[in-house]
């Protein structure tokens, strides 16, 4: 079984005759016999996923790394973190996805209006199943717990991923609206209710 290990700003992928999907062009070095090939328009999930992604405007260009050996992946010296999934679903901002281990399914979930403020498309990418997901962020990730009666509000530009039973809504203070167009303020934010964990980065895209 392939394993993903985060090492600061580099992801180490140990392959044992299986395949890992990773962001196209993220390979910086490899040892052993590893092949890299384009995973196709659907990122390896077939035509339906490709169409959905096209409609949603979520652009994930993935390659398949297969064989035996170690591949080193990195993008723009961004910080790497690995999240273990045990049959649950992780919602990821598509720009933050670095690699997924075999057996995980990528899909697109429409998230209402979140894309309008952040320019990140109208949907988020979901990863579900049993395995590992490698995420990238500007600066180390911060995990924030959401519990019933303890909602969390996040700037869409700092949002990286979320998991758990969460519902999202949009906060837009009346006063915020008057600030739109005057620069880099948060015109509106995403509010998470329920029970789960939200990962944010200490920077804004």
């Amino acid at each position: 079984m392939a394993t993903l290990t985060a090492d600061g700003r580099v992801l180490q992928v140990q392959l044992h005759g299986d395949a890992v999907r990773a962001v196209t062009g993220s390979m910086v070095a490899f040892t052993g016999a590893v092949q890299f090939k384009h995973a196709g328009a659907g990122g390896g999930d077939g035509m339906r996923a490709a169409l959905k992604r096209r409609v949603a405007g979520e652009s994930v260009s993935l390659m398949e790394c297969s064989g035996s050996g170690t591949a080193y992946l990195a993008v723009e010296a961004r910080q790497v973190a690995v999240v273990d999934l045990v049959g649950d679903t992780l919602s990821v901002e598509s720009e933050s996805l670095l690699a997924v281990s075999p057996g995980l399914t990528l899909d697109v979930k429409f998230a209402g209006m979140s894309g309008i403020s952040s320019g990140q498309g109208l949907a988020t990418t979901t990863v579900s199943g049993q395995g590992q997901v490698a995420l990238m962020s500007e600066g180390p990730l911060i995990a924030l717990e959401v519990a019933p009666g303890q909602p969390l509000v996040v700037d869409p530009d700092a949002f990286i991923a979320s998991r758990g039973q969460l519902s999202t809504s949009f906060v837009s203070g009346v006063s915020w609206k008057s600030l739109v167009g005057e620069g880099s303020g948060e015109p509106f934010s995403i509010r998470f209710d329920g029970a789960g964990t939200v990962l944010v980065q200490p920077a804004e895209r």
């Binding site: 700092a158 944010v200 200490p202």
Partner: protein, 247 residues
């Protein structure tokens, strides 16, 4: 990875070197865009809108140039502040004064008073309280007499405002510098800030700059003092430069 919750986040401390947590019971001044997440019941209002209800805010924030880049966070909750993945440091002032680069100031307690520094791009904080500033790399503290590169300068405390030092020797020493000087263009290295007196100078270990939205407003404001003829000359010069940079 440690999971933080509203109750486990620090009251006023770093979550990690790049993120700072402020437990709010009342109000704080926050730079627009610095908030990355918050728990609880917190409202964010433009400083001008807030000051129309609470007059003290206008007195604490006396800089019309920067006022539109700032908001007041008010309520009960925990606010997380960060800036481009830069180091975030907190500083405590006790009846003191500290001048800091405006784009690197992320937030400050309303017990402090903000004023515009005479040095463009910098603001001065007066009084007692906590403020947060970001730096690209750890902050370096040095004591005057000292000359600093304007880009690496983060701020200064207790000493008089710097004078601009024009290093003629540097320009003569390098052919490139001399040529650029002759054409009236500067590479930047020959212009330094000269600090004297007793105090502390704060430096960051990088020269990466963020576009200061107030700079345009500052220049526009000052350009109003020009005569119509001078305005025409400046306009032509700027237009020529914009064309040159496009190519």
């Amino acid at each position: 990875m440690k999971t933080w919750s509203a109750s486990s986040l620090p009251d006023v401390d770093n979550v990690n070197p790049y993120c700072y947590s402020v437990r709010l019971a009342g109000s704080w001044f926050v730079q627009k865009g610095a908030m990355i997440a918050y728990y609880g019941d917190v409202r964010f209002d433009a400083v001008t809108a807030f000051a129309s209800r609470q007059a003290w805010a206008a007195a604490s924030f006396s800089s019309p140039l920067y006022v539109q880049d700032w908001v007041v966070a008010e309520g009960n909750g925990v606010v997380l502040l960060a800036d481009r993945g830069f180091d975030v440091n907190s500083f405590d002032l006790a009846e003191g004064n500290l001048t800091v680069r405006a784009t690197n100031l992320l937030g400050f307690a309303p017990t402090l008073e903000l004023k515009q520094s005479i040095v463009p791009g910098f603001v001065t904080l007066l009084g007692t309280g906590t403020f947060l500033a970001s730096s690209n790399g750890p902050v370096i503290f040095v004591e005057p007499p000292f000359r600093a590169d304007p880009e690496a300068l983060l701020g200064w405390a207790d000493c008089p405002s710097p004078a601009v030092h024009h290093d003629a020797q540097w320009m003569m020493a390098s052919l490139r510098g001399a040529l650029q000087g002759a054409f009236g263009r500067a590479s930047g290295e020959e212009r330094q800030y000269d600090f004297t007196g007793a105090g502390t100078v704060l430096l960051q270990s990088s020269e990466v700059q963020r576009e200061d939205p107030a700079l345009l407003r500052l220049v526009t404001e000052q350009a109003l003092q020009l005569t119509p003829q001078q305005s025409g000359v400046l306009g032509a010069e700027l237009a020529a430069r914009a064309r040159q940079q496009q190519v």
